[in-house]
Every structure is written in structure tokens, then in C-alpha cells.
Symmetry: C2
């Protein structure tokens, strides 16, 4: 792949820039989370729970074993950000939902991310639209 003139070196350079950008995005996310006294997994959980979801679904989103979600939910629940509710039919599943305080925290986090994420801040609207197009193919589960 690539042209014959610049074979592998260019790819390595591109990858370096990619990981540089990804690192910056991660760092920014962790920093914004930390300002709300949240760890990265906790913040990801809060963002995911825009709509209530089973513990299992959160484990899937976090790409971690389901057993870990117990502790993460425990800590968020003890801080009053999340509540464990019944899911109706199937009495095995517990529906994780944000409390009023959780909703408030989520809104703050989202706002701060919009204000500070390098992807949002460092690009113009047009550039962001182009980026959006590229990211859609990357983020998609298809293919």
C-alpha cells in the first residue's frame, strides 16, 4: 500500500501523530474528569448513562469484565451520582441510572469537554466537519 516513493516511513510518522492526538485527547478527558473528582472509568460511565442501562451494558461500553462494574457503580452510588434500580421483567438485571446530581455532573463534564477537548478547540468548523467524515468510518463497527 502507499506509493513506492514513501513506503513505510510515512506510515510510522502518521501513526505517531495519530497517537499524539489520541494521547492529548485522553489527557484532556482525564483532566476534565479529575476536576469533578472522577476517574476516567467513572467519567466514562457517567457519560454512558445518559440513558439508564444494565450493569452488563456498561461493562460492554467500558470493555471490561462485568465484575469490575460492581465496584465502579458502588463508588458512584456512594457519592450519590448513580442509583441501582430494578429493570422490570427480568429480576436479575439492575438498571443503572443517574441521580439528579449525576445528571448535573454529566452536564458539567459534557460542557467542559466541549470547551476544552483539543479536537473541538483546535479545529475550525470546516475542519471539524472533515474530521467528522473520517471519524465516522473509523468509529463505525461495520466492515
Amino acid at each position: 500500500m502507499s506509493s513506492t516513493t514513501s513506503p513505510k516511513l510515512a506510515d510510522v510518522e502518521i501513526m505517531g501523530l495519530i497517537f499524539g492526538a489520541v494521547d492529548r485527547a485522553i489527557e484532556n478527558f482525564q483532566q476534565m474528569a479529575a476536576e469533578l473528582d472522577l476517574t476516567a472509568p467513572q467519567a466514562r460511565a457517567i457519560m454512558f448513562l445518559g440513558e439508564a442501562a444494565p450493569m452488563r451494558a456498561l461493562a460492554g461500553h467500558l470493555s471490561c469484565d462485568a465484575s469490575n462494574v460492581t465496584g465502579i457503580a458502588d463508588r458512584l452510588e456512594s457519592r450519590g451520582l448513580v442509583r441501582r434500580g430494578e429493570a422490570g421483567q427480568d429480576r436479575r438485571v439492575k438498571l443503572l441510572a443517574l441521580t439528579a446530581q449525576g445528571v448535573e455532573t454529566r452536564a458539567k463534564l459534557e460542557q467542559r469537554l466541549l470547551e476544552t477537548s483539543p479536537f473541538m478547540v483546535k479545529l475550525s468548523d470546516a475542519e471539524r466537519a472533515t474530521l467528522l467524515d473520517l471519524l465516522t468510518r473509523i468509529a463505525g463497527r461495520e466492515r
Copy 2:
């Protein structure tokens, strides 16, 4: 910011896609690292040590406290991937360098990342060039 017709909603959607893509990249990185029995921080250290560097510099790259690097270096050293050397003039600093096995591991990891990273795999050369342009501004420390 943005046009008056689609103010905040579009930004939130874009951010969702950004984090989706970032999550995919992180997951892929962790998976490629795991195939070489490396944790993410260990793999990041290996990639960083293309050239020997002081422990302190690695801490900076990993965006963590210097005390953590002791343990990370310990584990890599006990596996024969890294070696602690003297830095010459300043006898306080220890220069962390890859061993021959470490160089080999680094090459394998780099190759696998080039082969599997969603950013590299899911985009055409032209798209990657466009992405490169955008990421250069995001990854840059300037501004």
C-alpha cells in the same frame, strides 16, 4: 462558534464520534500490547524508548508521577526488555534503554499497530493524508 441553526447538538454528536474513534484506537492498542504480554503503559514505554531516555522523561511522556516509572521499569527490566544505564555527567539520572529483546518487541508492536490500528486500516491513503493534516494541529503543543 458554529452556525445559529445547529448550535450545541451537532458539537455533542461530533464529540461522540471523536470519543468513539478514540476508544477504538485505545482498545486496539491495548489488544496489540496484550498479545505481546504488555500492559498499555508498558507498551507506551517500549514505543517511547526508540531512543534511550531518562526515567523522568518517560514519566513526562506517560503523564504520570515519576514514582510510577520505577515500577514500570522494574517489570520491563525483569523481563529483559529494558536496561537501566548511567547517563554520564549527571550521576543522578538513569538512562532507560531497550535491550536487543526490547528492540525486537518494539518492532513487532509497531508492525502490528500499523497493520491493525483503525486509523491506519480503515482509511485510504488520501483520507489518511487529510487526517494527518488535521491531527498535526491537534497533536501540536503549540498555541
